[in-house]
Structures are given as structure tokens and as C-alpha cells.
């Protein structure tokens, strides 16, 4: 079921992004006809990135060489990162590049190279699997399309998503603050807490309310991963410990 699992993250974004383009940058559809001055560059780049992401996601499914799949997935996820950058979510875009493209896929290709018996591993998907994967993907697409079209704000044409008349602050600081429970973007509950309870500890933020934000889950996951890592290292090394010592003694 490699193709359908690989399809997951890319197809999640595909329909939503296309919809976002149609709803948000609808004026750019006829860019070939209008003079260049009227081109909605934002919409144009959005379309380019979205098309790359979708086409490459399909290519991932249709390819039968694992490393080629990984390469198409790199392009697809890279285009998704481009969409994030275009939306001003620079932190999410860089995260996308670092975790998925730089981390996961490098490890994937590394694993393939370590385990491959033949030079080029090819995966042939059975017809039944293809049909099954197609049904699953189509139903997921239907659900996502329905969910995307049900968001009312996205259906108003020509409206910039973040256009609330305020100031755009593409900063990652609020994300970090939210991790430790301080919601600078939403000060009202913290202020209410402070006024009502009066248990201000000098920091004056919303952290006074006893919320730990996402710090505790983050730490739990980190420790969990560390345990997994230590376990994996132990399992991988257990058989070879003696011989490696002999080797190092022989090297001396």
C-alpha cells in the first residue's frame, strides 16, 4: 500500500489549494488575455505551485520506482512549502522543508539504498490494490471538497484571506509563545483571568491561568522518541557488540 500512504499528505493539500485559488485569486484566471499590469501575481504563483504539487502527487502514485517516487514527493512537498511561503506562513514553510523534504525523504531514500538488493527497486501495484486505493482516495477527495466548499469565507471572491484591515505580522514569536501557553494573539482570556483571579505572577501573560500550552505534550513526545531511539540503537547494536570490540582491539 505504498502509493496510497504516500498519497496522503499531498492529496490533503491538493484540492484545498486549488479551491483557494479559485476563490481567492479568481481574477487571475484569464491572465493570458489581460495586459500584464492586471496580472494577479499572487494568484499566478499560487496556481503554479498548486499545479506542481498536484501533478507531482499524482506522479508519486503512478511511478513504480521508489526513488523516483521519493523525488516526485520532494517536488510535491517543496511546492507545498512554496504555497506556505506565498501565504506568509514562513515558519510552516521552512518546517515543511526541514521535516518532510530534508528529514523524512532523505531517510526514506537512505533506507531504500541500504536495503535494496537490485540496483533499481520497482514496485508493481496489483490491479485490485489500485482500485482499492482509488476508491479510498476518491472518497477522501469528496470529503475534503465538501469540507472546503462549506467554509463560507473562502467562497467570497477577491478577498485576501488575512485582510482584516490590520497589520500582517508574519512572525514566529507567537507560535513559540503559544508553545509555552502564552497566547499573544488572543489576549482576552488571559486578561480576563488576570482581572478576575488576580493571581498575576509578574509575567502578566495568559500563562498565569495554569495552562501549560503545548509544552507538556511536546515534552512527552520528545521523551517517547528518545526512548524509541535508544531502543532502536540497542536492538541494532546488540549482535555486533562483541565483534566491533574485537575489531577495535585489532585496530590498535
Amino acid at each position: 500500500m505504498m502509493p496510497s500512504t504516500l498519497l496522503g499528505p499531498a492529496s490533503l493539500l491538493g484540492p484545498t489549494s486549488l479551491l483557494g485559488f479559485v476563490a481567492g485569486g479568481g481574477t487571475a484566471c484569464g491572465f493570458a488575455m489581460v495586459p500584464l499590469a492586471a496580472v494577479n501575481w499572487h494568484g499566478l504563483f499560487f496556481l503554479a505551485f498548486a499545479v506542481v504539487a498536484c501533478v507531482m502527487a499524482v506522479a508519486v502514485v503512478l511511478a513504480d520506482n521508489v526513488v523516483r517516487m521519493a523525488f516526485y514527493l520532494v517536488l510535491s512537498l517543496g511546492a507545498t512549502a512554496g504555497l506556505f511561503f506565498l501565504a506568509g506562513a514562513e515558519f510552516v514553510g521552512a518546517m515543511q522543508l526541514m521535516i518532510y523534504v530534508g528529514g523524512t525523504l532523505v531517510l526514506l531514500v537512505f533506507g531504500v539504498m541500504l536495503t535494496a538488493q537490485a540496483p533499481f527497486v520497482s514496485i508493481k501495484t496489483a490491479t485490485g490494490d489500485r482500485v482499492l486505493a482509488g476508491i479510498v482516495a476518491a472518497s477522501l477527495l469528496a470529503v475534503l471538497l465538501q469540507a472546503a466548499f462549506s467554509v463560507h469565507a473562502w467562497r467570497e471572491p477577491g478577498r485576501f484571506p488575512g485582510d482584516t484591515g490590520g497589520v500582517v505580522e508574519p512572525m514566529s514569536t507567537p507560535l513559540g509563545m503559544a508553545l509555552v501557553g502564552v497566547r499573544v494573539d488572543d489576549p482576552s482570556p488571559g486578561l480576563a483571568q488576570e482581572n478576575g483571579g488576580g493571581n498575576g505572577d509578574g509575567s502578566g501573560g495568559a500563562a498565569a491561568g495554569g495552562r501549560s500550552g503545548y509544552l507538556l505534550p511536546f515534552e512527552i513526545v520528545s521523551v517517547h522518541l528518545l526512548v524509541v531511539l535508544v531502543g532502536a540503537a540497542y536492538l541494532a547494536r546488540a549482535k555486533r557488540r562483541r565483534s566491533s570490540r574485537e575489531l577495535s582491539e585489532a585496530a590498535r
Binding site: M95, G102, G103, M113, V167
Partner: protein
């Protein structure tokens, strides 16, 4: 620049933005291409001097300074070979993946106060993330070549780069913590003034961690003594064994570009960025933030400053390459996991405690005005809520029609954060 084109020359906005984007992209491309030419020549000369030779002496006059151009012409004329069993698509595209990753990282690199392709709020993070993508081209090349030498080289490279991202990330976090921002422009700005403001001299921990960073940077760009991916004595030429001609030279452009990039990142993070050791401009009463000619000149000098520092870093890398023997793969891993990572972790904790207990530094008598402002102030600014937020928001910009455009290359209003 875009607003200059719009306001002074009266060009329409779309043309101005297109020209601006093209010019900055071309400039960055030139930094890489010309940089590679110069560095290859420098590498030959430095290697020769270290080995008590002369190096190229004839091509283009006394110092052989046209040698790289001659090399380039030779590479252009070479036959572009592909092994019979290779995966054609991946084999052809791999050098460009490496090159694109190296090129894309330059976008967020500030060459001077306003000389930055695209100022990103998470600049450090972006550069490190994109730099990690370069390995993908190498892996693809090694895999697609259908050669055992290439495959071994690529596997070593993957293991090495993935491991060295850990200590590299830890080292990079320290200046980010001290500056309280991931914005490369802000980090460099905080080190303005005399060279004692550089984060290298901020405290003993940052001094040590700079060298850890440099070691990891050398390893992450695959230079000797960490060049296991192309170990000539064992693997013929590693991942680029099967490459020739222009594609091969793309790998090298990517390598020299990455060398320059990590050196420039070291300069911005630890060596004050575009700020010289002596703040001549501010002693003369000039400000780099102004839009007039003087401000432009100051920024140009700053740009030269940064390039000089980065070139120095590259030269040190060459010096190391031709001095130290190549490490074995287990030694490379030992260096990373047993030395660099623990040292970086301890130094990170040390720098954190230092900035907490001694925010003014040991020479705090000189006043906190000269020394860098601790990151705590920024966090406090955020904690104060919406009222206290405006002071430290550097990159806020109101939405106008320009928000639909690519973000400006220069914010020509000369706005500078008051400190």
C-alpha cells in the same frame, strides 16, 4: 529599488517588481557563479602554496587567474556521458537539485542592512532547512548512477549530513537565543558597534560554540577532512564518479556556493554580519538605514565586509582541507555524536545561563548600551500584550495593494528600529 523605479522613473508597478526580482535573482546567481570561479582559483593557489608548489601560473598572466575560466571552457566542451544502466531522469536532474538548494538558501541571506533577497522572519531556520536539501541531489546522483562507488559515496553523505544537522542546529540556536529573533537581519543588527559586540565575543560559551559550528558547517558541506562522499583514495570520486562536463561542474558550483553560504551564515550569526570591527560609519555620523547616497555607500561597505568575512571563512576551509588528513567514517560519526553534539549542548546551556545571570557580560561596567541587548527584553515586550507589542515588531507592514505583490527587496523608507 522597486519604489525607486516606480517613483522616480515612473514605471508601472508590475514592471518595477519584475525588474527588481530579476535583478536580485541575477545578483545572487552571480555571487554563486563568480564566487565558484574565484574560489576554485584560490583553492588551487592555496593548495599549491601549502604543498610548496606554485599552482597555476600561466593562464591569464602572472598568477594564473584565468585558470578557472579555462577550466570552465574545458568542462563545457567535455562530452556529457551517462552510464548505460543509469536512471536517466534522476541522473540528469540530480546536479540541478543540489544547485537549486544551494541557490535557494542565498535568498534569505542578508548581505547588508537592506541587501537581502527576501527578508524572512525565520531566516536562520530557512537557510538551515534549505541547506539540508542539498544532500538530496547528492543522494539522487549516487543512486541514479548505478555504480557502487557512487552508491557508497551517497550513503556516507546521507548518514553524515543527517547526523551533523543535529549539532549544527544546536549551534545555530545560540545566536538566535541571544538576539531573540530568527531574522538574520535582526541578528546582525544586534551586533552593531565595536567588534566586542559580536556574538563570538559575547561570552566564553559562544566563543567555543563558534568553532563547533564551523566544524559542523565544514562537515555539512562535505569538505575535507569530512569529504567521505567523494573520498578519492577509496571511492574513485564518490557520488560524482559517473559525472562529467557541465553537470559535474554544477555539483562543484553547489559545493562552493554552500561553502560561501555557511561562512556567510557564520559571519551573520557570530561575526557581526556586515558590521565591521570598528563602527566607522556611526563614528562618522552616518546611518546605514537612510535612503540617500551616504546610506547606500555605508550599506555597500557593509556588503563588502560580509563578503570579506565569508571569503575568510572559505579560505580557512581550504586551509583545513589541505592540512588535515581525511577522517574515517567511524571517526566522522564519533566527532559528531561524541564530541560536537555534547559540546554544543553544554555550551548552549552555558550561554543560556550566562545571558540570564550576566546579561551585561563581564565587562558590563562599560554599560549595556554598547553590549548587545538581551533577548529577555523582546520576550517581555511580547508578554506585555498588544500595547507593548509594537516596539519590537520589525517586519510588520500594513496590507496595501503591494501585499499582492512579492515582498519588497528594499524598504526604501529608511525605517530603522530604534534601540
Amino acid at each position: 529599488m522597486a519604489s525607486f523605479l516606480i517613483n522616480t522613473l515612473g514605471l508601472p508597478a508590475w514592471l518595477a517588481w519584475t525588474i527588481t526580482a530579476t535583478v536580485s535573482a541575477a545578483l545572487i546567481l552571480n555571487v554563486m557563479a563568480v564566487g565558484a570561479l574565484v574560489f576554485i582559483w584560490a583553492e588551487r593557489k592555496i593548495a599549491a602554496r601549502i604543498q610548496d608548489r606554485l599552482g597555476p601560473t600561466r593562464t591569464g598572466g602572472k598568477f594564473g587567474w584565468l585558470q578557472s575560466v579555462a577550466d570552465g571552457i574545458k568542462l563545457l566542451a567535455k562530452e556529457d556521458l551517462m552510464p548505460e544502466g543509469a536512471d536517466g531522469l534522476l541522473f540528469r536532474i540530480a546536479p540541478y537539485v543540489s544547485f537549486c538548494a544551494s541557490f535557494a538558501a542565498f535568498i534569505a541571506l542578508p548581505f547588508a542592512f537592506d541587501f537581502v533577497g527576501q527578508r524572512l522572519n525565520v531566516g536562520v531556520f530557512y537557510v538551515v532547512a534549505v541547506l539540508g536539501l542539498e544532500v538530496f541531489g547528492v543522494i539522487l546522483a549516487g543512486y541514479a548512477s548505478a555504480s557502487k562507488w557512487s552508491l557508497f559515496g551517497a550513503m556516507r553523505e546521507a548518514a553524515q549530513v543527517v547526523s551533523y544537522e543535529v549539532p549544527l542546529g544546536m549551534c545555530v540556536v545560540v545566536p538566535v537565543m541571544l538576539a531573540g529573533s530568527m531574522d538574520l537581519v535582526t541578528i546582525a543588527e544586534k551586533q552593531a558597534g565595536w567588534f566586542t559586540n559580536w556574538y563570538l565575543f559575547h561570552d566564553p560559551f559562544t566563543f567555543v560554540i563558534f568553532w563547533v559550528y564551523f566544524t559542523c558547517a565544514v562537515a555539512s558541506v562535505n569538505r575535507a577532512p569530512f569529504d567521505l562522499a567523494e573520498a578519492e583514495s577509496e571511492l574513485v570520486a564518490g557520488f560524482h564518479t559517473e559525472y562529467s562536463g557541465l553537470r559535474w561542474s554544477f555539483f562543484f558550483m553547489a559545493e562552493y556556493g554552500s561553502m560561501f553560504l555557511v561562512s556567510a551564515l557564520a559571519s551573520v550569526l557570530f561575526l557581526g554580519g556586515w558590521n565591521g570591527p570598528v563602527p566607522i560609519a556611526s563614528l562618522l555620523g552616518l546611518s546605514e538605514g537612510t535612503g540617500d547616497t551616504a546610506g547606500y555607500l555605508v550599506r555597500l561597505v557593509g556588503c563588502l565586509n560580509l563578503i570579506l568575512k565569508s571569503t575568510l571563512g572559505v579560505v580557512v576551509m581550504m586551509w583545513v582541507r589541505w592540512t588535515l588528513p581525511r577522517l574515517r567514517i567511524d571517526q566522522v560519526m564519533t566527532t559528531c555524536l561524541k564530541y560536537c553534539t555534547p559540546i554544543a549542548a553544554v555550551m548552549f546551556a552555558g550561554a543560556m545561563l550566562w545571558s540570564f545571570f550576566l546579561p551585561g557580560g563581564l565587562v558590563g561596567i562599560a554599560g549595556r548600551r554598547i553590549l548587545s541587548r538581551p533577548a529577555g527584553e523582546i520576550r517581555e515586550g511580547w508578554l506585555k500584550g498588544p500595547g507593548g507589542r509594537g516596539r519590537d515588531v520589525v517586519s510588520s507592514r500594513p496590507i496595501t495593494e503591494a501585499a499582492m505583490m512579492p515582498a519588497p527587496l528594499h524598504s526604501d523608507d529608511g525605517r530603522r528600529v530604534s534601540r
